[in-house]
Amino acid sequence: MDNGPIIKLENVTKVYHQGKINVTAIDGFSVAVDKGDFTALCGPSGSGKTTILNIVGALDVPTAGRVTLEGNDLADLSRTALSTMRRDRIGFVFQAYNLIPVLTAYENAEFVLALQGMPERERRARVMEMLKEVGLEGLENRRPEELSGGQQQRVAIARAMVTQPAVILADEPTANLDSATAASLLSIMEHLNISHGITFLFSTHDQRVMDRARRIITLRDGKLAGDERKG
């Protein structure tokens, strides 16, 4: 694997204002994630895992601190540039799958490529290959409502992977899945991480994910509580 930090958070703080109360979700958090890492962000509920993913994914902005992705300071990028970065360099996988319900499995996976303006023929080849890779061959024309939870999450992974992003941010990706499905999906992600060199950053409570992760970053009350590299 090619090492070097692809994600860097320096002294990041995030404070939410809820009426007159300020809630500190992240408190002076610093971490660097190397290219090709398969990293789990762990911690109890409310520890700030999802907030970290949202900030790294340029969906949310920190109250203080600096976040860089592939060397780009996110604070320096315009809304359009952030959209482009999310489209081309980041893939998201959500706990609740979050597929577009009116699109088929194929179209959901194709969606981001269409946003990129990729020609249809090229899109087709890329999407079909990716759906095959996540084990959805033959289910391309099914809508999300016609797929099981595990199949929907595979589509979500295909959607995140199909653009060959630099980073995939997965927020509790196995939380709604049974053990067998979760294990299968983790194998797929692990395979994609190794074969495509894509950096994975998970937020999770799931011991199965933590067992497969090569690095575990632990959060508590928005602060770094541990950072363990395996092997």
């Binding site: 969906l59 959209s83 081309d88 979050n98």
Partner: protein, 410 residues
């Protein structure tokens, strides 16, 4: 991808989409129907008014419009008539003499309007009195001592076909002159003032009595294939520079009718505007609801790389489809009404008082529609434009959604 997505989004709530499209269709139908009816009414009123004397465009002696007088006249010879009839949109140019005078029998007399017409040039197509002939016939020649009278005048003076009357007027020198004529026909326009105070005389007879020279007339009534071309034709006639004449359109000679049409037109525009607002409110409501229902989806789209502009265009495309669907439904809804009302019309005669008129012009009791392509295109474009306009706010709202909060929303 965007078109497909927008269309499928609308199909999610088919009933709501259909109802919204139907509201657009209804707006289009109502607006087109009322515009078509108004077009017919205005057209009919202008055409009838033209056929009652002055034509769509009138060539007159200079100063006649401001101060009508029998001694104001000009030469309306065959050359002038043929030049005029050769102009684009002109169907007929007819010389007439107008005068005010007294109409009397041995026992009674009344004041009235005298119109001198040439039976060789006049037809029911261009002369409302001939179209309204109740009994008898038009005098055969321009110098036959015949007269056509209105039915109320005939009743007042106890005139019947073949009876004689005396008409008196001031000639070109200001002398009071009179002549005798025998009733050949009685007309009934339905307008009390016209039926009770107008007579039609042969042009040559009247010319001779008033001291006009050959070919002289008070006016040439110019008829057009489309009254909306009156200004163009007026300009074309002015360009011919017929000596000693002025040329006016119907809106300048029939100012009451023109004013009424203008007011009616403005009130129609207000009506159309409010219909448009209702349509726009319906679309706004539907699209805004659908945006708020899909906040999470939009948040996800933003997360996976859609730009705010993409969401803006997506929502606007949905408005576009609703507008388009509404237009198509509107055409379907409107077609049977259009076919029925343009071909056969709906007779409202029983609802109108007898002899209903405006500015001495009888109104057609049959409700019909006339659609001009420009009107239909304008209304369709306005409704469609409003549909897009109504989509702007929801589209803007979608483009401004904060991704994180949107993804979290249920």
């Amino acid at each position: 991808m965007m078109w497909r997505l927008a269309w499928r989004n609308l199909l999610r709530r088919r009933r709501r989409t259909l109802l919204t499209a139907l509201s657009v269709a209804t707006g289009l139908w109502v607006t087109l129907l009322f515009t078509g009816i108004a077009n017919h009414n205005w057209d009919n009123m202008v055409n009838t008014s033209a056929k009652m004397g002055l034509g769509h465009v009138t060539i007159e002696p200079a100063g006649y419009l401001q101060s009508p007088s029998a001694n104001k006249r000009f030469t309306a010879d065959a050359k002038l008539l043929s030049i005029t009839e050769a102009l684009p949109n002109v169907t007929r140019a007819i010389p007439r003499i107008m005068a005010e005078g007294m109409i009397a029998t041995a026992t009674k007399s009344v004041g009235g309007s005298i119109i001198g017409i040439d039976p060789a040039r006049e037809t029911a197509e261009h002369n409302f009195f001939l179209r309204s002939l109740a009994t008898g016939r038009l005098f055969h020649t321009a110098d036959e001592p015949g007269v056509m009278v209105g039915i109320r005048l005939a009743e007042k003076l106890n005139l019947k076909l073949g009876k004689k009357l005396v008409y008196t007027a001031a000639d070109v020198h200001g002398n009071i002159v009179s002549d005798l004529a025998r009733v050949t026909g009685i007309f009934q326009t339905g307008v009390e003032a016209v039926d009770g105070g107008v007579i039609l005389l042969p042009l040559e007879k009247l010319r001779h009595m008033l001291g006009y020279s050959d070919n002289e007339a008070t006016l040439v009534a110019v008829f057009l294939n489309d009254q909306r071309r009156a200004s163009e034709v007026r300009t074309a006639i002015i360009a011919q520079a017929f000596p000693g004449t002025e040329t006016w359109t119907w809106s300048e000679t029939q100012t009451e009718i023109a004013g009424m049409i203008t007011i009616d037109h403005i009130s129609h525009l207000f009506f159309q505007f409010f219909i448009g607002l209702l349509v726009a409110a319906g679309i706004l409501d539907t699209i805004l609801m659908s945006v708020l229902e899909r906040k999470r989806e939009f948040g996800v789209m933003l997360a996976v790389g859609s730009s705010p502009l993409f969401l803006f265009r997506l929502v606007l495309t949905e408005s576009f489809f609703i507008g388009l669907l509404g237009l198509m439904l509107g055409v379907v809804v409107n077609s049977p009404f259009y076919i029925y009302l343009s071909r056969w019309g709906y007779n409202l005669g029983s609802l109108l008082p007898e002899g209903y008129d405006l500015s001495r012009v009888p109104l057609d009791p049959v409700m019909r529609v006339i659609y001009y392509p420009a009107d239909v295109a304008g209304i369709a474009a306005a409704i469609f434009g409003l549909a897009l306009l109504a989509g702007l706010y929801p589209a803007w709202k979608a483009s401004r959604l904060p991704p994180v909060e949107s993804i979290r929303s249920a």
